[in-house]
Structures are given as C-alpha cells and as structure tokens.
C-alpha cells in the first residue's frame, strides 16, 4: 500500500503530506497536518461538523478524497480568523450560538461560504445554507441570528479584520 503525496494550500499556506489510499481530507488535516479545527462527527456526510471551504465552496472534509484537493485552496474553520476574530465568530459569541460547541466550526464554515457568495442573505437563505449542519444541542435560533448579525455587519461596514 503506497502513500500518495498531496500538496495544497491550507489557510493560505503551502501544505504537503502523504495520504493513505482512500484517506479523506479530514484525516489528512487532523492527523497529517495537525489542524484540528474541522471536527469528525459522523463520517457519512450527515452532520456537517467537518465543513471546510475548498476553492471557496463548502465541502465536507470527511467525504472528500485527499487526492482531490491536490493544488487547490482549502480553508479550515481555524483559518477563518485573521488578526481579529471574524465577524461570524464575534456574532456567535454575542448570541451564545455555541452550546457544547462541537458543531460550531462547521456552522461557521458553512455560514462563511454563504456570506462570501451572498453578503445579504435573508433568514430562509441562512437556514438553507446551514441545512446540512446539525446541532444536537438544537440551538438553531441563536445560530441563525448570529449569521444574520454578521451579515449585517459585513455588508454595512468596511471593517478591517485581516480575515480571509
């Protein structure tokens, strides 16, 4: 069984590792590269805890073959903050949108994918964007409110936070 070299950009930095045949991106990020920000939840695409952005689009790292990101740009939840917290992260704190917190990285990644493409989403669009992310504490309302708050701030200001 031969490992495959995989090179890509992770949060703007060059990343290189070796992947076992059939290994998923989540394993490569967590075990190979030490980025623990995307979480392992179900391993079958049901929970959204492992959501990352690949070339700016939301993807489930547990269902992404490691070789698929060769030469591409991956942003993990840990790479969303810049010098300051991202407005989404600020809003999640303000709205108490994390209870146990396990789903939070995936929620924020999914929300960022939405706001990058649609800076002024309405409530239904936020709910749709998060529909693949499960919060088993069932704290959905604060999460939706946090995303709407972040959207309002991002679209209404020129805040310089250094986030990507």
């Amino acid at each position: 069984m031969t490992k495959t070299p995989v090179q890509f950009r992770l949060n703007g930095m060059a990343a290189a590792t070796f992947a076992d045949p059939g290994a998923n991106l989540l394993d490569v990020m967590r075990r190979g590269l030490g980025d623990l920000s995307a979480k392992y939840g179900c391993g079958q695409g049901t929970c959204g805890a492992c959501t990352v952005l690949i070339d700016g689009r939301p993807r489930l790292a547990c269902l992404t073959l490691a070789e698929e990101v060769e030469g591409r740009d991956v942003q993990s939840p840990g790479g969303i903050a810049g010098e300051a917290l991202h407005p989404l992260q600020e809003a999640f704190m303000e709205h108490f949108a994390a209870q146990c917190g396990y789903c939070t990285p995936g929620m924020i990644a999914a929300a960022k994918a939405l706001l990058d493409r649609n800076p002024r989403p309405d409530r239904d669009e936020v709910i749709e964007a998060l529909s693949g992310n499960i919060c088993r504490c069932t704290g959905y309302e604060p999460i939706v409110e946090a995303v709407l708050t972040a959207a309002a701030r991002l679209s209404g200001s020129n805040v310089a936070g250094g986030w990507r």
């Binding site: 045949p21 998923n24 993807r59 547990c62 999914a110 939405l114 693949g132």
Partner: protein, 266 residues
C-alpha cells in the same frame, strides 16, 4: 481496504480500468467515501476521473445533456436546468450538493437517489462510457452491473408540466421516506402521456404504471386525480425500514402524488 487510488484524465481510461475488475468508481464521493470511511468500500482499487467532459452541462434546443459527474450544485447554477432546481435543492445541504453528482444519484441506494426519480419521470436516457444508450428504467433494473455512465440526456419539460415532492421526517432536510416526480403533459386540462416515478417505493426508482394509466385523460383537479392517487402504490413494493413501514409508505404515496399534481406543478 483500499490499496490504490487511480486517477485518469479521460473517462474512457477510467472505464477501461474499471473493466479490469477489482475496482470501484468514485464520482463525487458522497456514497463511496462514506463506504471507505466505514471500511466497506468493497474493492481494493478506487478509480476516478478528472475528465472535464464528465462534468459538463450543455443544451441544444429542448434537449439537455448532463455529464454524469456534474454536481447538484452545478445543476442549481444552470438556467437550462431550472425545472430541476426544486429537486436538487431538496438533496442534502450545500456542502453535500457540491460533491453529489447526477450520475452518482442513479446508483445511490435507498434512502438516497431522489434526484434519480425525477430523471426517470422526465424520460432521461443514460449514455454509457462504452457508447451505448440506455433508458433509466432499464439501467435501474441492472445497475449493479451496468458499468460507467458518461452522461444523461433529457427533454426540458415545459413550464407547469413537471413536479416533484419529497417526504422526509426531519425539517428542513432529512433523508427521504419517499419522493415522487411527475411529468404530466397536457395538464391541467387533459393529462396525456403522464410519467410518475417514485423513489423509496421499491429497490430503486420505479414508474407507477397503474397510477399513470388512471391519470391518462384526466383533468388535473381534485376529482380528476383521485383514481390515480388511489392507485399510486399499486404494483410497487415499498420497503420496511427504520424511516417508515411499508404500510405507511403505501398509505402516503397517494397523498404525496396528489399534492405533487395539485400543488407542485402549478
């Protein structure tokens, strides 16, 4: 356990690699990677392709060609496929739709594969990598041994003649108890040549022949569709599983068909 990943730049090369045996093809990965994660991939070699033609969408007149590797996110971004937007939107969340492919949906086991039911109702024809064309009903009957699908071809439905409804227990998204897709030309005055397809009412998406016969010539109103809805489950064999019993599925199939005909095609 997977021993090797083989990536081919051309679909034909991937098909040839598959034909050598001991391999499984992966398109978007929503089913295959799940199996890999759980140690049940079932083959020592994983075969994939980066062929751009495999992901292409094109339209010529009323005819639409969908590369089997096109994702449901691509479907949602295509104006040509506007009729299928409500179907694609009901599949997973955005991250799943970025990976899930149209071709992969044809092979997704229950409770997945709702998009395939819509393609069946629309009369889509699959073109295999070897070049042969195959109606979806034939493909479903032998999908374990049919080989690699390159693309699908279908006629764009006219406004108001296609509808889709998915029943799930979790809102806003959940796996399918069943789904129903209807193409009803001539509606609402007199339906002619209707195609009704269910997912979750058998081992793979199936046409509801008895309901189609009952709908022929009917008006698309409460009284007109009653006979078709009463016959919705006739000839089908819904499964018993943790999502719903076979009895429940048979009971609600007609209700979902009626709502689809009267509410989703308006």
């Amino acid at each position: 356990m997977i021993e090797a990943v083989e990536t081919y730049p051309r679909l034909a090369e991937a098909a040839a690699a598959l034909a050598r045996g001991g391999a499984r093809f992966m398109a978007g990965g929503t089913v295959a990677m799940r199996d890999a994660n759980y140690g049940r991939f079932g083959a020592p070699r994983l075969v994939r392709t980066t062929d751009p033609a495999f992901r292409a969408l094109s339209a010529q007149g009323d005819r639409i060609e969908i590369g089997a590797g096109a994702t449901l996110a691509q479907v949602l971004e295509s104006r040509e496929l506007a009729a299928l937007h409500p179907v694609a939107r009901l599949v997973g969340g955005p991250a799943v739709r970025e990976a899930a492919t149209v071709g992969g949906n044809l092979f997704a086991p229950h409770p997945y594969g709702d998009f395939a039911a819509a393609l069946l109702a629309l009369g889509a024809v699959a073109r295999l990598a070897e070049g042969r064309e195959m109606p979806l009903a034939d493909l479903f009957a032998q999908r374990d041994r049919v080989g690699l699908v390159a693309s699908l071809s279908l006629q764009r439905p006219r406004r108001g003649e296609f509808g889709f409804r998915k029943l799930s227990r979790v809102k806003p998204k959940g796996v399918s108890v069943l789904s129903v897709a209807v193409k009803a030309p001539g509606a609402p005055s007199r339906v002619s040549g209707a195609a009704i397809a269910f997912a979750g009412m058998g081992p793979h998406p199936l046409r509801a022949a008895a309901a189609e016969r009952a709908l022929e010539g009917a008006r698309r109103d409460h009284a007109g569709v009653a006979a078709a809805c009463a016959a919705a489950a006739e000839g089908l064999s819904p499964p018993d599983d943790p999502l719903a019993s076979a009895w429940y599925r048979a009971e609600v199939a007609g209700v979902q068909l009626r709502r689809c005909l009267l509410e989703d095609m308006a």
